[in-house]
Subunit: 247 residues, 2 copies
């Protein structure tokens, strides 16, 4: 059974301010919780069906979180999903620390990605293409928002996001900086070697003009029809696919 206090706590963790105070976040669904159990996140609590607890016995023994047995209905009532495949967990947030980007590495720079679903999908896509580091502006959606965690489909365990002021970061970076614009060089025509930073612009406004000045190579995904733009996560995936396949 999940206690009333725990349900209240889980619901409160939907709110960024409360997450920040508690330094905790929620992971919902069996698949994501299994990824969490395999990760280096500290796990505070797991609520799950007897089947889930049985199947993940050794993983749980390793991580030693507090455990509550619960029914599917209780998990749904506690969480934000309309269905839940058997587990819900509370884990400890990691500190927001910078990471070095190696010379041959590709990293993403998010210039105000506001939609949690888009951020989650970008993280999942980065993980597919072997991109482990994302630098995000402070106005970008919160990594620990349950909708972001959910949309990553488990990739939140493998991709690191560092929140910072992008301008000083880019000024100090000394790396090639690529950004998608309507009037750049066709991504398919470029010679993609080495690594670099790929800037993804805000959903409505694209890359801000201050950041645009620090882009060393403007790129374009060619358009064949009439849509005005591509979704930000889509554009990320297409450019990463080109980078990886052209190397």
């Amino acid at each position: 059974m999940i206690s009333k206090a725990k349900i209240k706590h889980i619901r409160a963790l939907q709110v960024k301010k409360y997450r920040k105070d508690e330094q905790c976040f929620v992971v919902e669904g069996a698949k994501s919780v299994v990824e969490l159990l395999h990760s280096d996140f500290e796990i505070v609590w797991v609520g799950a069906t007897p089947e889930f607890l049985q199947q993940t016995k050794s993983l749980l023994a390793n991580k030693k979180p507090e455990v509550s047995e619960a029914t599917e209905a209780e998990l749904i009532a506690a969480g934000s999903y309309q269905t839940n495949s058997g587990a819900l967990a509370i884990a400890r947030m990691k500190p927001n620390t910078a990471f070095p980007i190696r010379d041959n590495e590709w990293a993403l720079l998010l210039d105000d990605i506001r939609d949690p679903g888009n951020l989650g999908t970008i993280i999942r896509t980065a993980d597919w293409y072997g991109v482990n580091h994302i630098i995000a502006s402070e106005a970008t959606a919160d990594f620990y928002n349950p909708k972001v965690i959910s949309a990553t489909m488990g990739s939140f365990c493998r991709v690191h996001v560092f929140y910072t002021n992008l301008l000083p970061y880019l000024q100090a970076a000394r790396k090639p900086v690529y950004g998608t614009f309507l009037e750049g060089t066709d991504v398919h025509q470029l010679h993609w070697s080495g690594g670099g930073l790929l800037v993804i612009g805000n959903e409505a406004n694209g890359i801000s003009s201050a950041i645009e000045r620090l882009v060393t190579q403007k790129i374009t995904i060619p358009r064949y029809g009439r849509a005005e733009s591509l979704n930000a996560a889509l554009a990320t995936g297409i450019v990463l696919d080109v980078i990886r396949s052209k190397k």
Copy 2:
């Protein structure tokens, strides 16, 4: 002012059954309503700010919908958005009719895309890549769902979706049928000429086994990292980008 009866009607149109009975759907936001005014959809009613009505005077004179002047606050109260940039419209649904696919044309086949946001993004992406026809299984999200319309960013005016039973459709199609699987041929290694049908599988289960048997060419988007899969709309965009750039 928007009448109480109109607000009730707009809210009811959030529900598929009511949309089907009324054969009407809602379009929210200035940008999407402008696209609607340029389209061949019959427009029943437009509620908008004085500025919007002024700017679209000639378009409105052409389409002759019923018009109500409204404040931004009234538009937000009536619609499903948290913000509204100035307009909301009710338009007439089009009949669900089959369309011919030309020999050199590419069309999408959606095998149960359940998420309205994904469907909308797929429509927008198809429009970017000049794909005008989509054939969708009957369990695919409803084209006229406000979340779908919204996620298309206006592309609902240019891309046609035909709902049907995919099995008999494919059996009769006599066209190359491509589908993404984990064990197909690398999309970058194929020679993409002519046209064909590209099947996009369900978000959780991929392409169903009955449809899989009718796929003539299994394809794969190579993975470089550890995510288990790509989002369905992402995969669509990446394959369309490869098709268009390799031709």
